[in-house]
Symmetry: C2
């Protein structure tokens, strides 16, 4: 861990550090204080990335540096009034306070990476404009999530997997029009012991920070960040998918030649499991890098959804003519198909006599899927699934 990181992560913020509410009509009146080092992508709703210089310094991302992807204002949560409701066929079949969840079900922890489906969108935008927040490569982070298994809770209230097809999650976050955040996942993922879906009340050993869903968030490992609903208020078991905007008209991938005017959202499935991705965190674009023993040090992350493990990261500084295999500096021990965390990697790569190089990286996962080479052929008008090779151009000094 760098000295810098030690300093700036020492100021831990938590859910109690909310701003003073002076205007009760302001929907953003309950936003928490945020770490000054977070890189804001949008202020209302708040969206911010971990600074790239810190992202790969820790296998477990510190809570207050974890990327924030809010779709709506942070809700006004009062734990005394809080209960999770479970509903099916318009009937309430279960209701649990946080204490009841903690007392009634076994506690479990999983190490899981969450990533926004729009992570690295800014790379895709260079090909052609897209509609969406201009995320760099740091809308990703890894935490130890502690809570109870969703399957235990659903079984307790009598849900049988073969009687339904989808599990909806509704947040208690609303916008001024009354729109509420919600989405759904297929029921097999919720009920399968290998799905590892948990209702989390802790993140890295402390109560969930407000920006990460206090008091309860569903963690759906291996699946797009958007399905990991924060401030979870209600679970609905259904034969239909969620009809929310975020399920039906967002977070879907399209062919490069389709745009907003020609897109038929009913034809594309919602993004659930995420494809393999990687990024270089160090150095960054335009850096002047000192060459040591004819090499430069390159560091980054790689991750794949669906419980796949990263098995190799290849790095090149000559447009792919030569590839070097990176060393893994941190990887979880869980085996696929239950490997939920990213892999951190590092490589001292030879750079020859060059004055500048473009560094490329690509990852391979345990299903031997690999990344597409460039953005032209995966471009989509929403700028999601932006997982082509990461390419970083740097100057070299000796």
């Amino acid at each position: 861990m760098s000295k810098y990181l030690n300093i700036i992560t020492s100021c831990n913020l938590d859910k109690n550090d909310t701003v003073t509410v002076t205007d009760l009509e302001n929907p953003y009146g309950k936003e928490p204080k945020r770490h000054v080092a977070l890189k804001t992508v949008n202020s209302q709703p708040f969206n911010a990335e971990t600074p790239i210089s810190l992202l790969c310094e820790n296998f477990i991302t510190p809570n207050d540096l974890f990327y924030v992807r809010n779709h709506l204002p942070v809700p006004d949560v009062n734990l005394k009034d809080y209960a999770l409701e479970i509903e099916t066929n318009d009937k309430l079949v279960g209701k649990f306070t946080l204490d009841q969840l903690k007392q009634d079900f076994p506690t479990v922890s999983i190490v899981a990476t969450l990533m926004c489906a729009g992570n690295r969108r800014s790379d895709m935008t260079k090909i052609k404009a897209v509609k969406g927040l201009n995320w760099g490569p740091c809308a990703i982070g890894t935490a130890t999530w502690t809570g109870v298994r969703l399957r235990d809770v659903l079984k307790r209230v009598g849900i049988k997997e073969d009687e339904f097809k989808h599990v909806h999650f509704e947040g208690i976050d609303y916008d001024v029009t009354g729109s509420q955040y919600g989405t759904s996942i297929p029921i097999w993922k919720a009920m399968d012991k290998r799905g590892d879906v948990i209702l989390a009340y802790e993140m890295n050993g402390v109560s969930l920070p407000l920006d990460h869903g206090y008091p309860l968030r569903v963690v759906v490992p291996g699946v797009a960040g958007a399905r990991n609903v924060k401030w979870l208020g209600k679970i609905i078991i259904s034969n239909e998918e969620s009809q929310s905007h975020w399920q039906q008209n967002d977070y879907k991938g399209f062919s490069p030649s389709i745009d907003y005017d020609t897109a038929d959202f009913t034809k594309a499935p919602p993004i659930q499991e995420m494809p393999v991705i990687s990024a270089i965190c160090q150095p960054t674009h335009g850096d002047v890098v000192t060459v040591m023993n004819d090499r430069i040090r390159v560091k980054g992350y790689a991750w794949s959804g669906g419980g796949q493990k990263i098995i190799r990261v290849d790095v090149s500084v000559d447009q792919g003519k030569t590839w070097y295999v990176a060393d893994f500096t941190a990887q979880d021990t869980a085996e696929p198909p239950r490997h939920w965390a990213w892999t951190l990697w590092s490589l001292d790569i030879p750079v020859g006599d060059n004055q500048e190089v473009e560094i490329w990286c690509k990852a391979v996962d345990s299903s031997y899927n690999t990344q597409p080479e460039n953005f032209q052929n995966i471009w989509n008008f929403r700028g999601v699934l932006s997982n082509a090779y990461h390419k970083v151009r740097v100057q070299l000094s000796r």
Copy 2:
């Protein structure tokens, strides 16, 4: 189905059509007769592809046109002497004749595509030579496999998933040195209800043909063809992987800069779940294609391992500047993560005023993984996982 297909598939061969054995010392004395239309890639052991003109004509590949990938001579099978043995810790824990399997366990059928991990190797070879059989794009086929669930059988003999890590399969095929075909899969795949691994005795409604493993073959859907052991003689439950050549020193992927001299086979995991792939079956390289209404018809297949479904196939005739979305002509209704069969597709694509075009195709699966663009960056010295875009150059006539 084309008229041509009707004619040539009318001559069904079966296991009884073995050649006359004139030389008892000949290890290849028990080879069956094969369909004349199969495209031989190697004669001993026999390896052959489905002819490309027929591959996409049927969602279910006719048995006698199904690609054959034998690693060793076809064994001399006598059903009267046959029994499947199950062993753990060097102890026999179960033994079943084929009739006992049929009587003692529920019958199940799955529709699954099998593909050799070396399918499309000949495309990779164009970049740089590789070591392996020169497969075209037709080492793939789809069948309805009928048999009993492996998990049912393993449970019956008392196997508990959490006590072991791997399940080995040994064939009764040997070479002259006594080497026996064998390989293994992780136990979760064997025991999970969503793994859908079956001990199959029928292929498309008839007894397994001799070339496809009569009397019993394990079908491990979503996984490299090599793990689908034919002529299954023994199952071993273990904490170690199979130590066979095919598990340890073959069917693994490596970085493009690694060759036989520098490869460390212990560093790469065996190929199990396969990455997304697609190919154009019609037209083929060098064809002269008649333009109709400014378009040509392109047909092909797409498939992904791990139970993923193909959600889109994109086709381009201008090096990716414009992509068109293909129509699916045949797809199984099973949902991921239990979708095991390929998708057939077709597209009448506009070709403008060109005199010739290079057709590209690429597929996207339900985890939104897609194919790498070219072979340079995925080249590996064994020529496996050859899933870059398929590119076919044709002349146009009007």
